[in-house]
């Protein structure tokens, strides 16, 4: 473990080179370097521009539907018999997940920068749908790269993107999942540098993306913090979120990082178990490496070749994680744990029956962790969990596993 003294604040990163401890950075081809420096400059300006912040807040309120509710899950709490469980209802956002928070922010930046074409990568399709949505709303042509495997298992989202006017390009390289889609999006960007804005969907990639995406998503944690103070008069004991690339997680975690009494847990996809290679638990079972513009924990072999992960959830099917999570893990502020496919599937069904909420398979991993922890906590303790997306997109996957004809 890291022996350096803990910082005064966990919220001051990254440094000017985009580093969170040893993680983060700008590991990109020279062709892209001027572009990400431009983006950083524009982001610095926009961040401190009241007009930009106002437009963001207005679109948040009237287009996304913010603030999202903080909901007390009464029956689940009763069923588990321990801590009080609250859900931050990001699945009620326009387009059905937290992804839209980031897309609205970045499309406003793209507009400011005079870009005329948007590209994005997507795994589960939630970010692809959110990207296609903001492109329709702001009149940009949009190309979404999506792994061929994901195109197949997330068919409803593919259709939604097409309806919204986006071009969906299936990527057959590798296993045809999120990692391969990101490679292909980077190849597009390096080719079309003049007019194209790359709308990255998670808090990863070269600086300033991890910081910028986090800041757009931190609205989740800021609201949740205010809402729980209003509902309970105090901060929660535990905050939980699922982590793929980690944007919904860093969004809810970040405003709580300096609250000493708040324990924070990130849930990785344990897939079919950590013994083999069929999982996506980058922190629990990976090691530091450099991919897609940043240094972070990766699933890789001894030769530095990146492994193909596995998760039942396309949105968690990525062999890396945002660099800030890697740092939060190393300094011990956030605990990262794996949840297996089957546990997530059970949690998915339990929540559907008990609360009348069909969660996406991604936050189902977080629910499974809550199911483990809540019974061991006192009844006066409080858990806040980020319910980052709705599960309509997953009913075909779940139906297939449960052996139901749809």
């Amino acid at each position: 473990m890291n022996q350096t003294p803990l910082p005064n604040s966990f919220r001051s990163g990254p440094d000017e080179d985009g580093r969170f401890g040893i993680f983060g950075g700008r590991f990109v081809a020279e062709t892209l370097m001027p572009l990400i420096l431009d983006l950083q400059g524009e982001w610095e300006k926009a961040k401190n521009d009241p007009a930009f912040q106002q437009e963001l807040a207005e679109l948040g309120a009237h287009y996304i539907g913010r603030p999202s509710p903080l909901y007390f899950a009464e029956r689940l709490t009763e069923h588990l018999g321990g801590a009080k469980i609250y859900f931050k209802r990001e699945e009620l956002n326009h387009t059905g997940s937290h992804k839209i928070n980031n897309c609205i922010g970045q499309i406003l930046l793209a507009k400011r920068m005079g870009k005329t074409r948007i590209i994005a990568e997507t795994g589960a399709g939630q970010h692809g749908v959110a990207s296609a949505t903001v492109c329709a709303r702001f009149g940009f042509p949009c190309v979404v790269y999506m792994g061929a495997t994901d195109v197949e298992r997330q068919a409803p989202n593919v259709f939604r993107m097409k309806l919204l006017g986006a071009e969906v390009k299936p990527v057959t390289a590798g296993h045809g999942t999120l990692k391969d889609a990101m490679n292909e999006a980077l190849r597009d960007w390096v080719t079309n540098v003049e007019d194209t804005y790359y709308l990255i969907g998670t808090a990863a990639g070269p600086h300033p993306y991890p910081e910028m995406v986090r800041d757009f998503q931190a609205v989740i944690g800021r609201e949740a913090r205010e809402q729980i103070l209003e509902a309970e008069g105090r901060l929660p004991d535990l905050v939980v979120a699922a982590v793929g690339g980690g944007s919904n997680a860093i969004g809810i975690f970040h405003p709580f990082l300096d609250d000493e009494g708040v324990q924070i847990v990130g849930v990785e996809a344990g897939g079919r178990g950590l013994e083999g290679v069929e999982h996506c638990a980058s922190i629990t079972a990976g090691s530091p490496g450099v991919l897609h513009g940043n240094r972070t924990y990766l699933l890789q072999n001894g030769d530095g070749q990146i492994l193909e992960g596995h998760s039942i959830s396309a949105g968690l099917d990525y062999p890396g994680i945002g660099p800030e999570h890697s740092w939060l893990h190393d300094i011990g502020r956030v605990e990262y744990v794996p949840i297996m496919d089957q546990e997530a599937l059970d949690a998915f069904q339990l929540l559907t029956r008990l609360e009348g909420i069909i969660p996406a398979l991604e936050p189902s991993h977080a629910i499974a962790e809550v199911i483990k922890r809540a019974p061991k906590m006192r009844k006066d303790q409080i858990i806040v969990m980020n319910l980052s997306g709705r599960g309509d997109k997953d009913i075909f996957t779940v139906g297939k596993i449960l052996g139901m004809e749809l």
């Binding site: 081809a29 001027p34 080719t191």
Partner: protein
């Protein structure tokens, strides 16, 4: 720095022609064939060898080089096997400069210091690491220069005059001008644009400026070589290897010979380049 690179460029200058720099993927389709290709290159007219280090996620490469990397990895290639390839080659050739080209992660995982020591021992003269821009110089560039291995930087059409000094600051050996924004293996750009870009870079440095991305034929090599100190050919060679393989992806009977034939043709291109320039 190792002397091979400077000696080679000095000799080429005396000859009055640009260098032919040939890229191939180490271990494609297997170690022995790859070594055969490497040994055949100098005799066929290659002046500098770029030895590709396979990586699972080559973000700046087109399909031909992506597939070459996959074939090599499938054949069991690793970074230490790629170093071994160079070591074996050096047993019979101590003059031709070798530049290893690839992505940072395998080197990072191998360990930077250990890698540089082993690379020096294997007879490596330079490194091109696609995803290490000047902002990341502390990672590998500075340690490599300290050990005496050239760090060759890519300059691109997006590298403007303001940025060029930063890009050139810790560059040694030569400057690799990427002739277009895009991935390897795209179409050849207009030679006159390339020529003005090369002259722009030469206004900032005394290092040789070599041009790559899009050069596939002897005519291309001749046209691009008219203005540049070197012409890099990669995708065409890798595609030649791919085309020579048997149906199950194994080396064919003429894999090495067909690469040599292609390189001989390209070599006539660079040898004709300056004749054009003088006219």
């Amino acid at each position: 720095m190792t002397a091979r690179m400077d000696n080679r460029f000095a000799a080429l200058k005396a000859e009055g022609r640009p260098a032919l720099i040939t890229y191939f993927m180490g271990g494609d389709p297997d170690f022995d064939t790859s070594l055969g290709i490497m040994k055949a290159l100098p005799e066929a007219g290659a002046d500098i060898i770029e030895l590709g280090m396979p990586f699972s996620d080559p973000m700046a490469d087109g399909p031909a080089i992506q597939m070459a990397g996959q074939r090599a990895l499938k054949g069991g290639q690793t970074l230490s096997r790629t170093l071994e390839l160079a070591r074996k080659f050096r047993e019979g050739d101590d003059k031709t400069p070798i530049v290893m080209m690839g992505y940072y992660n395998p080197i990072y995982v191998y360990g930077v210091d250990r890698f540089l020591d082993d690379a020096l021992a294997a007879g490596i003269d330079g490194l091109i690491v696609v995803d290490l821009p000047p902002e990341m110089d502390d990672e590998l560039c500075i340690p490599a220069l300290k050990k005496g291995i050239n760090f060759i930087r890519l300059a691109t059409p997006t590298t403007d005059d303001k940025r060029l000094p930063a890009v050139l600051k810790n560059t040694s050996g030569f400057v690799y001008y990427v002739s277009m924004t895009g991935i390897t293996g795209s179409a050849l750009p207009d030679p006159s644009l390339v020529s003005s870009a090369v002259n722009r870079i030469k206004g900032h440095t005394n290092l040789p400026v070599c041009v790559g991305f899009g050069v596939k034929t002897a005519d291309h090599a001749k046209a691009i070589g008219a203005a540049a100190d070197g012409v890099v050919v990669g995708t065409a060679i890798v595609a030649q290897i791919a085309g020579s393989l048997t149906r199950d992806g194994k080396a064919g009977p003429d894999t090495v010979a067909s690469v040599a034939t292609l390189v001989r043709g390209l070599a006539t291109g660079v040898r004709a380049a300056r004749l054009v320039a003088v006219e």
